[in-house]
Assembly symmetry: C2
Homo-oligomer: 184 residues x 2
């Protein structure tokens, strides 16, 4: 029996990754961050748990990779700095509102408080790349841009935690107006 | 044998509560939010797990009560609205910087995203009382004050998650200056 004729064999690796990411967000949405164990994610994705651990050494690493995929490249559109900033914050608000994304984000950050290795992964994979492109697009110092990321993402996540709902559009616009003032 | 002569008997209930709260924050600080199980907290406090569950029906309820105790009454000091706001944010920043408090806060909010019962506890015990006193002190609408709480607490917690450190004083002052603009 050739390996490529067994069921599922030869399926492109990218396809499995997409299924694992979708299963991860579904599991977090359904069971919460703590309840979305590697076991449950493996079952939901229809893969062996060893397959998960071969690619991602920990749940935190898998969640981080899943968030990088869910967010994708930051859209740095707009004719001036205010417009770029507004579009970036609206994009962040939309992403956090997607099922599972807000809870996955809040959960991995919570774990990172007491896990320096996970903090390194989060920093290298998620925070640093967005920080760099935003710094270039906004022409501001690292300290200012880090501050603005903390404000925008922190506010959106806190609202999600306290209300269980994404922030409403009028409050997102108030957030944009407030953050603009930081660069004045 | 009279019950009051057995070791530990007759110890005031408030004393046990204080020990449980201290043990809760120590456990979260040492093991992270997920690792601070009810079992570990009971061992750290030197009480039976049933004692914990008699007082607090879930880990989320215990963490919320512990945070209410750690934060205490909001200090609403200052000669005008700007001063009251600045002192409240500095107070929040100091509390979140205490060992275990930031991680406990972030963790219970993360759990609340997928747990409506916990969200009710958090709202009634923690968020609503602070919202009310801040609304009175600032003379602003509920929507504005909720927004400001999301901004201040969310920003401070996001910084803690990404850096593992509390926000530095100059960034806390930048946060205060930014939030003041919301009420102009």
């Amino acid at each position: 029996v050739q390996e490529s004729t067994s069921p599922g064999a030869g399926r492109p690796r990218a396809d499995v990754t997409a299924e694992v990411f979708a299963a991860t967000l579904r599991s977090v949405h359904e069971f919460g961050y703590a309840g979305a164990t590697m076991d449950r994610i493996a079952v939901a994705a229809g893969v062996a748990k060893t397959t998960l651990y071969r690619r991602w050494p920990s749940k935190g690493a898998l969640i981080t990779a899943c968030l990088v995929d869910a967010f994708g490249p930051a859209p740095l559109l707009g004719e001036d700095r205010d417009a770029v900033l507004a579009n970036a914050i609206r994009w962040g608000a939309e992403r956090i509102a997607e099922p599972g994304v807000g809870a996955a984000f809040a959960g991995v950050f919570t774990d990172a408080v007491s896990d320096p290795a996970l903090r390194g992964i989060l920093w290298n994979e998620l925070q640093a790349p967005y920080l760099r492109v935003l710094q270039d697009a906004l022409g501001e110092s690292e300290q200012r841009v880090r501050f603005v990321i903390d404000v925008a993402m922190g506010t959106l996540l806190h609202r999600m935690g306290i209300s269980g709902e994404p922030m409403a559009a009028d409050d997102v616009e108030a957030l944009i107006a407030m953050v603009r003032g930081v660069f004045r």
